[in-house]
């Protein structure tokens, strides 16, 4: 795949154009362009404070930003967060942010259920809301924990609940903010396979992680962010060879 993938115009599933995020004087994202195609796993790496989470926040509507977010030809950048999610753009949170009062199954179910008045009427008159567990629970190996509460799980598994919650309900793009933090090496490898599976159904995946092995082994393309700017973009092989990346980020870290 060519490294100039992101500027080929309207064909990608998710297009982020010229995204800029400012917190007071800090420019957390500076004119970022990024594209994710159907069935593609895209990596996003960069040192601490590079602006990765800010990018996810801006794309999903949790931070004010300038620029365009286009999902499947539809502009999302003026919509509130919940509407973006319903349009198919889902995310996980770096800090987990699960619903402490809900079981693991309900944490996921709440993302797919009927809402508002329709949900209210269905609750009173219709069938019980307890339905079969969402397929994403099985995909992430969480079926055994379905009736536990998040705080009964290890931190690593809590992250996976967050991922399951983002996958539920037919999301077409998922943005994963350090989902593998807290997993050991084996689990992390298994998780890499799950990420590939996510994309096989045509879903686009953005994977943010500090685990270089995971990112470079799993992703089709990788973007590198530093001080809020994209400093490189390409296949894992190209990224490993890129001098700017090595200088800015990989530096002393050994790369597999």
């Amino acid at each position: 795949m060519p490294s100039s993938e992101h500027d080929r115009g309207g064909a990608a599933l998710l297009e982020i154009r010229d995204l800029t995020v400012r917190y007071g004087g800090v420019v957390a994202n500076d004119g970022v362009n990024l594209a994710i195609d159907r069935g593609e796993v895209v990596g996003l790496i960069g040192p601490n404070g590079a602006g990765k989470t800010s990018l996810v926040d801006a794309v999903t509507g949790f931070t004010a930003a300038d620029g365009e977010v286009v999902l499947d030809g539809r502009r999302l950048d003026r919509l509130p967060p919940h509407r973006r999610r319903r349009a198919g753009l889902a995310r996980t949170w770096q800090a987990g942010e699960l619903f402490a009062d809900l079981t693991v199954a309900d944490n996921v179910a709440v993302a797919v259920q009927r809402r508002g008045w329709a949900g209210l009427v269905a609750d009173v008159l219709g069938r019980s809301a307890r339905t079969a567990p969402d397929p994403s629970l099985e995909m992430l190996g969480l079926l055994d924990d379905a009736d536990r509460r998040p705080d009964e799980l290890s931190l690593g598994r809590q992250r996976l609940v967050g991922v399951a919650r983002a996958l539920a309900g037919g999301s077409s793009v998922v943005l994963l903010d350090e989902p593998a933090a807290g997993l050991d090496t084996d689990e992390s490898e298994a998780f890499g396979d799950v990420v590939r599976t996510m994309a096989t159904s045509g879903r686009g995946v953005l994977l943010i992680d500090h685990d270089m092995n995971l990112v470079l082994n799993v992703c089709d393309r990788v973007y590198v962010l530093d001080f809020g700017r994209v400093i490189a973009c390409g296949t894992p092989t190209e990224i490993r060879a890129d001098a700017a990346v090595v200088a800015a980020y990989l530096g002393e870290e050994p790369v597999a």
Partner: protein, 649 residues
């Protein structure tokens, strides 16, 4: 022009009290992170102590009294002791109530400080002779001419005092090392401890000083404001409004805003004397002003979704969604039917009132327990229901089941309006808005002569298919048919609510309660769902209000005052705000319910009900933050756990 000046200066005395309360609230918040709903009550106590000393020379204590002088005490002594009692009440509030709750959830802190507020308000009429008491003049009585108007010197002095207090407090926080350390402690207590300052002592100092300052301004202003067993308590609302305008940061802005509200209310009073001013706007308009101000200010400053790093979770007692066990439901219904059939007279009336109050309590379980929105306005919604019921039955002859639904829908609309601020405001701040809203509804709607017919808000008895469901029949105080009708209505709604709480709605409520950002990120419309919660909760309360109306035959405004609302929230909190069982227990304990009947009829101490409730509340809030049903559940879970572990061995 001179009339304008006159009314502006007439607002000074009250404005000064608002100002000192507002600056005290900001200071206490800076030191401890607490919004003290009892600041007005602290003033109230000092005012009455000073007035009693000035009149009879008796120093009244919460328990017992001391004769200080034969006959009226000298003015300086009366003022000094009045101020000292305010300061002591504030200090005790801090030491005994708020400090133990330092790191408790916002809800516990709100409930506890509301508890102190209720405690003082219910103590004042018991300890002081509040009929016909007049505060003796304290300041010189002369007037001076300002821009053509005769202005009382006393009012100017009170104003000067309040501003001096604000300036001194501001200087304390800005320029002294203690002040800077106090501010730091609200941000990071451990860091402060490392520097050797004791945050506890600094906080105690702030509580004591602001208590004294509030007492001083209120006592000195009381001859011109007037003595009243309640009103000072509610001065906390304009005070809170002003403090929130200052974003709880600047003492000076808070004081200025407080003064401005006082002057503005006085100008409204002037306007209402003019012919062009509509009659309906003559009463209660001044009280709605703080509500509108808080609403607008908070809405402008608030954020619809909390930012990263912002406060965003309101820690609350845990929830276990209700399991619909038909057996339990049947047992409870059977027991209630038995209670209805086996009682008569005032006891049956108590049982029926408890059933109704349970429904209103349930509205709080839904809104506060599940959705996490602290609301002090439940009784105002109920009252709206009752109020509209009286209209639709007497003026339009709307027949029975519909006569419940229409008023409840009106309450729903009001619920949504009061709920709009909740889209951007959270925790204790929301409690302030809902309280202000409740007070506005109470004074502007229920207390407005323009909306109340000459003969009172009569309500026609319900009938269904020719069956008389009226509450009275001959000498029977509460008919069986009325009681059973109440049971059917409340039972049906409770069943529906239980299904909601178990279902999708309850799930998204709990999701919002535990994390609004995450809820939005899974596609939940946080704003819409919050409004849905307010709407549903107000609907339940509205039905409850209609049933109360039917049970009285006429709408008695006393059933729906802000105090009843506060007491109810606190009762529900004590009983357990996250469960159906909590609502049931709250119904039994609620004002005019079974417990109240017991206190009144059997023990003959009904007049102590609100005092007992307030004490129980404060004690429970401090000792037992999960409520009665919560601790019963914890205990039983503990037992089950022990049994299962033993079985495994």
């Amino acid at each position: 022009m001179d009339q304008l000046v006159l009314f502006v200066t007439l607002g000074f005395a009250v404005g000064a009290v608002y100002a000192v309360i507002a600056s005290s609230l900001v200071a206490v918040h800076a030191a401890t992170g607490v919004l003290n709903f009892a600041q007005g009550s602290i003033a109230l106590w000092g005012v009455w102590v000073a007035a009693e000393l000035g009149a009879t020379g008796t120093l009244i204590l919460p328990i017992g009294s001391v004769q200080i002088a034969d006959g009226p005490a000298p003015t300086t002594v009366a003022v000094a002791i009045g101020v000292a009692s305010s300061a002591l009440v504030a200090l005790l509030t801090h030491l005994l109530v708020m400090r133990p709750l330092r790191s408790a959830p916002a809800l516990s802190q709100v409930v506890a400080s509301v508890g102190v507020m209720l405690l003082i308000v219910s103590l004042v009429p018991l300890r002081f002779d509040t009929t016909g008491a007049v505060a003796a003049p304290i300041l010189p009585s002369g007037t001076i001419e300002v821009l053509g108007a005769q202005v009382a010197v006393a009012d100017l002095i009170v104003l000067g005092l309040a501003l001096t207090v604000a300036v001194l407090l501001a200087a304390y926080f800005r320029f002294t090392r203690w002040g800077t350390a106090t501010r730091a402690s609200a941000e990071d207590e451990t860091a402060l401890r490392l520097t050797g300052w004791s945050p506890d002592r600094l906080a105690a100092l702030v509580w004591f000083t602001t208590g004294a300052a509030t007492g001083l301004v209120a006592v000195v202003g009381s001859p011109s404001i007037g003595l009243d067993p309640i009103s000072y308590t509610f001065y906390v609302l304009p005070g809170l409004a002003a403090a929130l305008i200052a974003r709880l940061r600047s003492v000076l802005v808070a004081a200025a805003a407080g003064l401005a509200i006082g002057v503005f209310q006085s100008l409204l009073m002037m306007m209402s004397t003019y012919d062009f001013w509509p009659v309906w706007a003559q009463a209660g308009f001044g009280e709605t002003v703080p509500f509108l101000i808080v609403m607008v200010a908070l809405f402008v400053f608030g954020r619809s979704i909390p930012e990263r790093g912002g406060v965003q979770t309101l820690r609350m007692p845990p929830v276990r969604p209700p399991r619909t066990r038909p057996v339990y439901a049947l047992v409870v219904v059977a027991a209630t039917v038995a209670a209805i059939l086996l009682t008569e007279g005032s006891w049956r009336f108590g049982v029926v009132t408890s059933i109704i109050m349970m429904l209103i309590a349930l509205s709080l379980v839904v809104l506060t327990g599940y959705l996490g929105q602290i609301s002090l306005a439940a009784m105002a919604f109920a009252g709206t229901g009752g109020f509209v019921l009286s209209r639709v039955t007497t003026e339009y002859g709307v027949p029975f089941p519909l006569s419940l639904v229409l008023p409840a829908l009106a309450a729903t609309v009001l619920g949504v309006i009061v709920g709009i601020p909740a889209l951007r405001i959270r925790g204790a701040h929301l409690a302030v808005v809902t309280l202000a809203g409740a007070l506005a509804i109470q004074t502007f709607v229920f207390g407005n002569p323009a909306f109340t017919p000459y003969e009172g808000n009569l309500i026609e008895d319900p009938t269904l298919f020719g069956l008389d469901l009226g509450v009275r029949s001959g000498t029977v105080l509460t008919t069986t048919s009325f009681a059973l009708m109440v049971l059917v209505v409340v039972g049906t709604l409770t069943w529906a609510t239980a299904r909601l709480m178990r279902g999708r709605t309850g799930r998204s409520f709990l999701a919002i309660r535990s994390n609004e950002r995450a809820a939005a990120s899974v596609g939940i419309d946080v704003a819409g769902t919050k409004l849905l919660g307010f709407a549903f909760s107000a609907f339940l309360a509205g039905i409850g209000g209609c049933l109360i109306g039917y049970s009285r035959g006429q709408l008695s405004v006393e059933s729906f005052t802000v105090f009843v609302g506060l007491t109810l929230l606190c009762t529900v909190y004590v009983a357990g705000i996250t469960s159906l069982a909590g609502a049931v227990v709250a119904g039994l304990l609620a004002p005019l319910g079974v417990l109240a009947t017991f206190l009144e009829g059997t023990l003959g101490v009904g007049h102590l009900y609100s005092l007992i409730a307030a004490i129980a509340l404060v004690v429970t809030a401090v000792l037992n933050p999960v409520g009665i049903t919560g601790s019963v559940r914890q205990a039983s879970e503990h037992l089950i756990h022990r049994r299962t572990t033993r079985a495994q061995l």
